[in-house]
Amino acid sequence: MSHPVEAEAFLKDKATSKWHDETLWFVRDKRDKVSKTVPEWEELRELASQIKDNVLSQLEVYLEAFEKNAVANGIQVHWAKDAQEHNKIVLEILKNKKCKAIVKSKSILTEECHLNPFLEKNGVEVVDTDLGERIVQFLNQAPSHIVLPAIHLKKGQISDIFHEKLQTEKGNDDPTYLTQAARVHLRGKFLGAKVAVTGVNFGVAETGEFVVCTNEGNADMGVHLADVHIACMGIEKIIPKREHLGVFLRLLARSATGQSITNYNSHFRSPAVGKEIHLILVDNGRTAQLGREKFRNSLKCIRCGACMNTCPIYRRSGGFSYKSTVPGPIGSILSPGIDLQKHSSLPFASTLCGSCTDVCPVKINIHEQLYEWRQEITKSQSALNGKSIAMKIANGIFSVPFAYHVSGAMMRGALKILPESVTYSGLNTWGKGRDLPELPKESFRNWYEKNRK
């Protein structure tokens, strides 16, 4: 797959792509405003970063402590080395409970493992209960953003699919009306479900409890009415102590949507009387990423989505253009670790402006890792393509001062007279969707020599 090709498709609908860009920037702006109301904001980011550094340096110790404490609390803990094993464990639990339908709240991990299609193939109905996720599920789509799953859709499209699936009035696209229809529909599903699946925001090694955050209350509606709660957790979601939740819960929602906290933050320590909690700890490539020293701290991510909201490329290309469960800047450093071939264009889907790094609540050096991945990918790609020819020429020019000096003057002359068919030819992939800047009459070097006195 190629990010530029996919992005081009997204940009065809100019009005929607403009709305997408502006709306995500608005969310980024809310994040800025709310973070500035917390005087110790930068200190919190530093603390969060250091706590996660400690976790990654002691991951095995915390995982074992977490399991021991969770088991003592009555939670059944499972380990899955990959997506396939994770899905098999979920199915096995469902078979034991003779369960044919589940409700599921937001979990990026289950998206990563492609749990829904697996369960459906095995005759289990899966109902995503987050409103945005239910909308994209009706459309047979994946979420295009990890926090705002349906951000690529306009209300008219949602009205159409609700009319088809939930028999709402044709053409009624009022968000309150549509949300109410979904509420009634999902209430029935909650009341009927025997098993509920959730993700995990944080697992606490010290207490063996785990925390799930939502604004809709859908995770809680599911699990408290069901007999069995299955929680799916990436091994990197562990934190050492309960007191560390104070740091992360102060950062998470503020970074994600500009709220001071999500409206529901549930701490699961042991099952209610007569019920079961199963927790699945999943690797699926995380230990491999831990072994890549340059990319290790991408595992610090708490999935707030702030790097997507701020990214000039993500905002203008949409989540689907990444063809990756986690899109945007963080996805572009996580996904190449899972499948380098498939995701090789993602580290190039960035201006390296560093805005992602600036907003990251756990201080992941995202743009530097994007740059590192580019080098890994360039090294591993032997076949020449259009861009690499241009890069090779540029490389030669930049490495020899005289060549740079001469070619600058030549280009200032040539670009004026070359027809657009040449400067915007297929060889120059940067010419696509971009205008060249106005050319200065002389170089800075010439200007400086003339004006130095």
């Binding site: 080395k81 799953p149 349906a150 859908n218 009415l225 007191e243 906290i261 529901y264 690797d283 072994g291």
Partner: protein, 187 residues
């Protein structure tokens, strides 16, 4: 199953790393006026603040026919018998619960299983009123976790507002899957 546990743990151990120490969380200044900051946070989360008079008016009205509270002092207002099966709470119009403490910086109110009787109560009820003592307001989340340190409940939750969503074109809608309103009475 154990195979995968060993597999994962041995892969982690195989990665040579230097232990990085845990940082200490320092002291951060608390908001000067806890009540004012807390109330502003609740409003910003789309909750409401009720006066005690306003609360009594609601109790005296017929607005919420099916009401339940596990709080001793308000049992006299109960018009709904606590069911054995929590699914039956789906008919409930209003639940009145007591919060253990509230956090001024974000309006989060802490509950444990024992405060809720059924874990699903504050979610499944159509509307929720929380009674909270002004003396139990804390400055920030660090103070909150310090406060609950010795508690050991099977389930605990911070509730900071009503159920809400902005999944349709970022338009805020109150009353997604959980309670349609949250009203807080400070006593």
């Amino acid at each position: 199953m154990n195979n995968s546990k060993d597999n994962i743990l041995s892969k982690i151990r195989a990665v040579k790393r230097t232990e990085i120490p845990l940082p200490t969380i320092g002291e951060f200044a608390h908001p000067a006026d806890l009540k004012k900051t807390f109330c502003e946070a609740i409003l910003s989360n789309k909750g409401e603040i009720l006066t005690q008079e306003g609360f009594m008016e609601i109790m005296a009205s017929a607005d919420f026919p099916k009401r339940y509270s596990p709080i001793e002092a308000y049992r006299k207002f109960n018009t709904f018998k606590l069911p054995q099966d929590p699914h039956a709470l789906n008919d409930l119009d209003l639940a009145i619960v007591q919060g253990q403490f509230g956090v001024a910086e974000n309006g989060a109110i802490w509950f444990e299983e024992e405060d809720l009787i059924h874990r699903v109560l504050p979610f499944i009820t159509d509307h929720l009123i929380v009674v909270l003592s002004i003396d139990n307001l804390l400055g920030n989340m660090h103070a909150a976790y310090e406060r609950m340190d010795n508690n050991h409940s099977g389930f605990g939750v911070f509730i900071a507002g009503p159920s809400k969503t902005a999944d349709i074109e970022q338009s805020l809608v109150i009353g997604a899957q959980g309670a349609r309103s949250l009203k807080v009475v400070l006593v």
